[in-house]
Symmetry: C2
Subunit: 223 residues, 2 copies
């Protein structure tokens, strides 16, 4: 009993469940710094906002708890996680370790189709006209670079770490004009991947992550 007989091999992407839709909206609001750190998120408010009962809201919040975007206080609910320089620095350090390894493995398998996907994401970065779209495109670009590595567990961890770091970027963009996401750095990263020099690509990626982290940390400490 195949999942999708009309388009064999493609499969049906299940329409996002209610909890997933709610989590997606809250996640965007958090990483774009639309909601301030430490803000309490009350189940009833969210339930009314989406016109559902509290049960699916709780599931969405549990998702965000697992992603460390909110913190849970038993019997007191959840709050948007605080922004701590130590968290950003450790997460970024891990990203350097894991993403350089991922890109090395990906480069071995990189196909023309993968390049097309990455180019498309790059275009989306250039065309994005709001913070949410920009971040989504940024995610998509990095994922496109790493997916060919064929390391799904690592990729999953990296995605979580990147979301955690993106929060800080979103905060910086909201409160200052520094460190705008540079189109050109990503263009160069993709060019390096296509050129095939693994060492050069890895060290450029390390710089890419470190530089944006350092800018964010100084912005964070300046308040």
């Amino acid at each position: 009993m195949p999942v999708n007989t009309a388009f064999p091999g493609i499969g049906i992407q299940p329409s996002p469940s209610i909890p997933e839709r709610i989590a997606a909206v809250l996640r965007r609001d958090i990483v774009t710094a639309e909601i301030d750190p430490d803000t309490a998120i009350k189940q009833i408010h969210i339930a009314q906002r989406f016109g559902v009962s509290q049960a699916p809201v709780r599931e969405a919040l549990n998702q965000l708890i697992a992603e460390h975007l909110v913190v849970h206080y038993p019997n007191k609910g959840v709050r948007v996680a605080p922004l701590l320089a130590a968290e950003l620095q450790e997460a970024a350090s891990l990203r350097v370790t894991l993403e350089t390894e991922l890109v090395r493995k990906a480069m071995v398998n990189f196909t023309d189709a993968d390049a097309v996907v990455a180019e498309t994401a790059l275009d989306r970065i250039g065309k994005a006209n709001n913070v949410g779209d920009l971040m989504a495109a940024h995610e998509a670009f990095h994922d496109a670079i790493y997916e060919p590595a064929g390391a799904p567990i690592t990729l999953d961890i990296v995605q979580g770490l990147r979301a955690r770091c993106s929060r800080y970027l979103g905060f910086m963009w909201k409160h200052s004009d520094k460190g705008r996401l540079s189109f050109s750095e990503h263009r160069k990263l993709l060019d390096l991947v296509l050129a095939g020099d693994a060492d050069k690509t890895a060290s450029f990626l390390r710089e890419h992550i470190s530089a944006s982290t350092d800018a964010t940390v100084t912005c964070l400490e300046g308040r």
Copy 2:
């Protein structure tokens, strides 16, 4: 308004919630291979077993989903995750990368108190008389070795990866007598940490993880 005036500085460890207790039991049953891979876990059964309604059961299952110990099929429930050699190998490879880094950082800060905690866990490994206790002690030992690194995010990720790998160990122990958890290897690991040679410790740790992984993979493929 201090949390605990009778024992200042100690604080009250909040008694585990119902979902946490349920998740803990299911987690143990899964990693000790008491439940076979692909077994469907029905909400009503668990609810009746613990004498609660389905709501807290769903929360416990969501926890296990986040830990990748069960897989969720929308509108069809959860099943114990399958055992795949590829998953074990990638998770173990990640563990080598992250745990060698952790132990290096931990050795810089290692105190006598940390050593006592590790020795205690080592004793528990020796005295454990069932698979569940053995695994819990094993976890505690490795955590004791890594905690002084002061890298909570990395430690959290490593704990998740170790739980994923432990499933395979539990499976092997259930179906063969090979690869019993050796007390002596952990004794030597702790000795190396205390001796202070970071390179030697890291390479021993790499071998410790790789060897047990290889044994498990061959056991897994032999059926």
